[in-house]
């Protein structure tokens, strides 16, 4: 047995990822495995990599229920949240003709992204699920129209293209997460 310990920052990350109830027991379990099995069998470097992988797995499972699709959705929703916020602020500042409608659209994008991120943490809310499915589909349609317009416009606006694509992708992944969740079993947690 060794008395070596994993790097401090990894242990801190693990503590952040764990619920209070499990902090002492899980860090103890992993330290025991690290000292008794991983370091003696594989050496310090591989043992550290093993520890880091456990930390990452625990964090992903805690934040997104272990589903990679939810992780992708969280990234997409965060992107559209920032893009919607930026779009809304710029429209309000510049106030070009038709800015009001575009600001409302930006607010809808923010609401959809915020609702999606909330759903990923809260789960199981039927009404929210229906709203997100409807909102996601509507915004995907808007994304399609925007892409069509920007591809045929005299001035190419890259940010519209990016937001449009992000909205369509977000809709696809949202629907997959919302309706795929019902079919999941204990197996996906492995």
């Amino acid at each position: 047995m060794t008395t070596k310990t994993p790097p401090c920052w990894m242990e801190h990350l693990l503590l952040l990822a764990l619920a209070r109830r499990h902090r002492e027991t899980v860090t103890g379990d992993l330290l025991e495995e690290y000292r008794e099995e991983q370091v003696p069998r594989h050496g310090r470097l591989r043992a550290n990599l093993w520890y880091l992988r456990q930390v990452a797995d625990i964090a992903v499972i805690r934040l997104f229920g272990g589903s990679p699709m939810k992780y992708v959705l969280a990234i997409l929703a965060s992107t559209t949240l920032v893009a919607g916020g930026w779009l809304g602020i710029m429209e309000l500042l510049l106030q070009h003709p038709g800015y009001f409608a575009r600001t409302v659209t930006a607010c809808c994008i923010i609401a959809q992204a915020g609702g999606t991120l909330f759903y990923l943490r809260a789960q199981g809310q039927r009404v929210l699920r229906a709203v997100l499915a409807f909102g996601g589909t509507a915004l995907a349609a808007l994304g399609l129209v925007s892409i069509h317009r920007v591809l045929h416009a005299a001035h190419f606006e890259g940010f519209v293209l990016i937001i449009g694509v992000a909205l369509i992708l977000q809709c696809i992944v949202t629907l997959a997460v919302l309706f795929g969740a019902h079919r999941s079993s204990g197996l996906h947690h492995a």
Partner: protein, 109 residues
């Protein structure tokens, strides 16, 4: 009949059952890996243990830690009567599902 258990849930419950008084996080992780014959992420096992405890299929208690774990406490798990019943039902459901099925010989590449 209660909700049927997933394969991973069964693997975790069986590990707890087999380990009896020695079922705590690390030993359960090793038991699940042996049962499934593959590497399993510790996070997946802890998430499943949490879910099984919420369903009342296992119960847990805290005990003092040892030097190798830096004195950190260990959480020991035991299977409840409801957990045993769930395992019986899942096993029976599998048997029922396979009854009368004849698998063609496995093709070898």
């Amino acid at each position: 009949m209660s909700e049927l258990l997933g394969v991973f849930e069964q693997a975790v419950l069986l590990a707890v059952l087999k380990l009896a008084d020695e079922a705590y996080g690390r030993s359960i992780l090793r038991g699940v890996q042996t049962g499934l014959d593959r590497e399993v992420a510790a996070g997946a096992v802890y998430a499943t243990l949490d879910r099984l405890e919420q369903k009342g299929l296992i119960a847990s208690r805290l005990e003092e830690g040892t030097a190798v774990r830096g004195g950190r406490a260990r959480r020991f798990y035991t299977i409840t009567a409801l957990g045993v019943r769930s395992l019986h039902e899942s096993k029976a459901a599998l048997k029922q599902m396979w009854r009368g099925a004849k698998l063609p010989a496995e093709a070898h590449a």
